[in-house]
Symmetry: C2
Subunit: 419 residues, 2 copies
């Protein structure tokens, strides 16, 4: 593993847990060993200093999110901590990037306002800080954007414009729309100002925990993990950084295989905020040489991780944020046994209806919700007797569908399905 | 408002937010003004010193839970913070009491073990610390105790015995059972050793926030709020302490009216861990003279508070823990406008199935889930046309029940219900 900087572990930890001021961050500058991997280094544009400057700029306007120890996840395997970006303003780490990007605008850019396109977490963050900094915002979303999301953008006083059938349509339209109304276009993809903001998570973490062996971070287009690599490996080179990607759209895994970002088919995933079809180039250049490992996790593991976080850790997380825990639960990282591992809980913006569905699927995956079919005689009291039998096992009946029409057996029996 | 002690506000706040050591707690002893209310004072058995001693005893084995600022609750009304006891070991503040009670046992009591009866949060906490301190535990629960709960007790290596049809039956049986097997009986009702543990929440809070105008705390039999009163009012007499009780079993409201604990009918409530039929005497004696106000909140407000905490604050809370927020949302505490208010999020142990139901009811209470009936002609394509109309409004159809049998209109129409 290549080291990105000369910082030693001992120099970074703030002895006063949770207590932090701007000055207590180590001022070691990222000086990469140019002789070791010369080609890479010229391509990496994000520097530790950018992240430190972002920290100074945004710290008063973001939440220094808590780190909590896992109570159940990793039990008997490793010591897990969660960095709770779901408790960040706007419910995700994107707040840090949005805050830095908007705080960096010039006075005239601020007064003209911004047109914004991108995913839900990005739009929530940008409209929130737009309102906070008195910057007028317009967002362009596809026509199928959920009512609840549009409502949240409007709560932040954004003008909401609907266009096209998917995110690409909306983003393209945003480009022409912002020229039309004379505002700056802000997208959320592979931008250095956003990444500098995201990286502040790494600076906080190093002050919150004296010892971290590994960090597992969700991977979409790669901005978050790349910025963590720059922040953490510059200051604590020995800390391992792992990426957890959803198997439905493994853009970074494919990019690492092909040695460059390549288009990947976009599949539906519960980790919807990771659904990108190509890795960001700035992110890829960092990740290429310095990521320790990337693993993919499937939908079922993500659901199980979400419900475990909900039930056992009392944390609301979105699918993307559950991927690191899914990697642990799925036994994908056996080499971390006995280690101190931080999972980045990147966000908690999951639709309530979807959360209710995840609970059901998670219970089913855990074998705590079962569906079965039984054929009973078509006489009074037969179904009641079946339900008594079920009750005796200690199980609860959630729903029941009597079926007489499509039965393949004699017409004197009926079938009962339970979910 | 009576003051319980001479501690001044200035002396209590630790200037280093989040940073705490055992020595940083103020050592002011609670010296109540005996001349002011002599009768009361002799009845109050819990002292600040008990809480401070509990803190020394348990601090290494409990979580110093985070305080986070509300992002949505209280917006434009007051500045709300949450003390996250749902992130405590075992998911509730009961961990503090259980830890103190078990840590206080003698060596011989420890080796004999304990028989425990009480509510879910208490049993979870006692079995967890029983295992942690190598104290064998047996729990007695009623026959209808959910499988998931029994599974959790067994995970903590407790022997689980089922007896009787309700909590009273189980508790009475525990009394004879512990004699039979020669263990100590531990219940969770109105015990000073538990309350001393609970009070450590107050000590932590005073170190975490420099300024607190008011604390709103859920009220069941009163142990938690009484211990907070002793801890907080001893050290910061000006801090208001409010209780939020569920309207379904208002034991403390009734006790305050009658000037003594009285039996109250036990009704089903979503805040199930507050469901007690009589206030504790030790708790009542503290609360009687020193509680600033008690308000009741109804089931609907509790559901709405739970869903708001889930969606906007990304917090999993049980019904009881949502009561303080329900009081704010329901406009029950208008005098707190503009104040710094801490809501005690007492626990997060809510059954997942119930959580899914709460989400539905909360959405319905918010008008985001609606049920309606429409009559359409009984011809092919009629229902499809109805659904297209619904889709055009931006709404999603969750479920649909066509009804032909019980229609009161002509037999050429059918009725469609949506939930």
């Amino acid at each position: 593993m290549a080291h990105m900087g000369p910082g030693s572990a001992g120099s970074t930890a703030d002895p006063e847990y949770w207590h932090i001021t701007g000055d207590s961050f180590p001022s070691i500058k990222s000086e990469m060993d140019a002789e070791e991997e010369p080609e890479h280094l010229t391509k990496i544009k994000l520097k530790l200093q950018d992240i430190q400057e972002a920290h100074s700029k945004i710290k008063k306007d973001i939440i220094f999110t808590p780190v909590v120890e896992a109570k159940h996840v990793g039990r008997k395997f490793c010591n897990v901590f969660f960095k709770l970006e779901n408790l960040q303003y706007t419910g995700s780490f994107k707040a840090r990037g949005a805050c830095n990007a908007l705080a960096s605008l010039s006075h005239s850019e601020r007064s003209k306002g911004c047109t914004i396109s991108g995913g839900r977490n990005f739009l929530l963050a940008m409209t929130y800080y737009g309102h906070r900094y008195s910057i007028p915002t317009s967002v362009v979303v596809p026509r199928d954007c959920p009512i609840a999301d549009r409502h949240r953008y409007r709560e932040n006083y954004a003008v909401v414009k609907m266009y096209g059938s998917d995110q690409n349509d909306a983003s393209l339209h945003a480009l022409s729309y912002c020229e039309e109304i004379g505002t700056k276009h802000m997208h959320g993809y592979d931008r250095l100002d956003l990444m500098a903001g995201y990286g502040t998570i790494g600076l906080e973490l190093l002050c919150q925990l004296d010892k971290i062996d590994a960090i597992i971070c969700p991977v979409g287009s790669g901005g978050l993990i790349a910025s963590l690599i720059v922040a953490v490996k510059s200051l604590k080179p020995k800390c391992l950084i792992y990426g957890a990607e959803c198997a439905s759209c493994p853009v970074m895994t494919r990019a690492l295989q092909e040695k460059k970002p390549v288009m990947v088919q976009l599949n539906a995933t519960i980790a919807d905020s990771l659904a990108n079809n190509i890795a960001g180039m700035n992110a890829f250049n960092v990740i290429k040489g310095y990521l320790d490992r990337i693993v993919t996790v499937d939908e079922r593991m993500i659901s199980r991780a979400m419900i475990m976080l909900l039930e056992r850790e009392k944390l609301i997380v979105e699918g993307a944020a559950a991927c690191p825990v899914a990697a642990l639960l799925g036994g994908r990282v056996p080499e971390l046994a006995g280690k101190i591992v931080v999972c980045i809980v990147s966000g908690g913006n999951v639709n309530s209806m979807r959360m209710a569905r995840v609970i059901d699927r998670g219970l089913a995956a855990d074998g705590r919700l079962v569906k079965f079919m039984a054929t009973v005689p078509d006489v009074p009291g037969a179904i009641a007797r079946l339900l008594v039998k079920v009750g005796e096992t200690g199980a609860d009946v959630r729903s029941m569908v009597p079926e007489r029409t499509w039965m393949k057996r004699d017409i004197f029996s009926i079938s009962v399905s339970k979910i």
